[in-house]
């Protein structure tokens, strides 16, 4: 016959074990990125289509306005000249040829130049790193971006330049943006919704990706960011189209 102590021990242990087992039922082991359901996909497609329709509507409206402005301009009146000037200014702003001012963020990326080479890694490609940040800022609603006062436009390039500096380390320390050499610290300025850009950077864990390579990544929200105009070579400056 079992003693009372044994019974109590067995009962207590069973209750605790049962409790622990039941906790397993409430653990959600499904992956956080669950596969899309057809409903979700359909609603997403509908939202995309609606957004696209809205954008196309705006483009059509702008085109009609432009057509009207050009029609007015053909009359060779003062109003026509003014309209042409407005059109030119709008195109300049869209092409990044004018100074831009507005709320935004500043990102400062820096590192200790005395850091030793990371074992197994020849060097850190800073151009790829900056391209990643620029693409993310663009995707999160940045209207204009500049790196170390080099305004980024559709034809801009960001290239790593190795060998221009003599320092030994994992970083090249020199980049070419728009063909102009720039040196660390890299300061990216972006005009747009600051909160949206900061959120995108946080969600992607960009700062952590830089920090893991011992690079600092500081984001500051600024009320009035001023970005310089693009001053580089424009397409058609040297090479002229024939037959136009």
């Amino acid at each position: 016959m079992m003693r009372a102590g044994h019974k109590r021990a067995l009962f207590g242990v069973s209750v605790v074990l049962g409790f622990m087992l039941s906790l397993e039922f409430y653990i959600d082991r499904t992956p956080t990125q669950s596969p899309y359901t057809s409903y979700y996909e359909s609603s997403q497609q509908l939202t995309d289509a609606l957004n696209e329709s809205s954008v196309l509507g705006k483009t059509l409206s702008r085109g009609q306005h432009q057509l009207q402005a050009l029609g007015e301009a053909t009359r060779h009146t003062v109003l026509g000249v003014r309209l042409l000037q407005q059109e030119l200014n709008a195109l300049k702003a869209a092409a990044g040829l004018s100074v831009v001012k507005g709320p935004g963020i500043a990102i400062k990326i820096n590192y200790d130049p005395n850091l030793p080479v990371i074992p197994g890694l020849r060097y850190v490609d800073e151009a790829t790193q900056l391209q990643m940040v620029v693409n993310l800022l663009d995707a999160s609603g940045a209207k204009s971006i500049a790196i170390n006062d080099q305004r980024l436009v559709t034809t801009s390039t960001i290239r790593s330049v190795n060998g221009l500096n003599a320092q030994v380390g994992p970083f090249s320390g020199v980049l070419q943006v728009n063909g102009v050499p720039i040196q660390a610290p890299y300061i990216l300025m972006a005009v747009g919704s600051a909160q949206s850009m900061v959120n995108a950077l946080n969600v992607e864990g960009i700062a952590a990706q830089f920090n893991i390579l011992e690079q600092s990544f500081h984001v500051t929200q600024i009320n009035a960011v001023t970005l310089p105009a693009y001053t580089g070579v424009l397409p058609g400056r040297y090479a002229m189209e024939v037959g136009l």
């Binding site: 242990v13 209750v15 074990l17 049962g18 039941s22 409430y26 653990i27």
Partner: protein, 119 residues
Amino acid sequence: MKQFLLPLAGLIIGILLGLVTKIHLPIQYASYLSVAILAALDTVFGGIKSGMQNQFDHRVFLTGFFSNTLLAAGLAIVGSFLGIDLALAAVVAFGVRIFNNLATIRHLFLMRKKIPSQN
């Protein structure tokens, strides 16, 4: 058979208690709980074996249950901080012990059934 009714009732009560309280455990702690459950199961099987061998001591059983469970979960937590999967070590150790205990229980059970005169 009657001796299994009390632990079974306890197990059911424990499960019901857990289901009623609806404590949500984050997935990050799931591995710790799993290792703790494995350690608890090892102690339970050890207790069954000792009972069949008439060597059951409730003090050893209780202390073994709680210390093994806490130690296993603690090892897993320390391992996650050190970057080593110490939970795996606990799984292997307790897994081997559970199978050994089960083998002994099976042997004891079969011997009792087949050759009752020898016991």
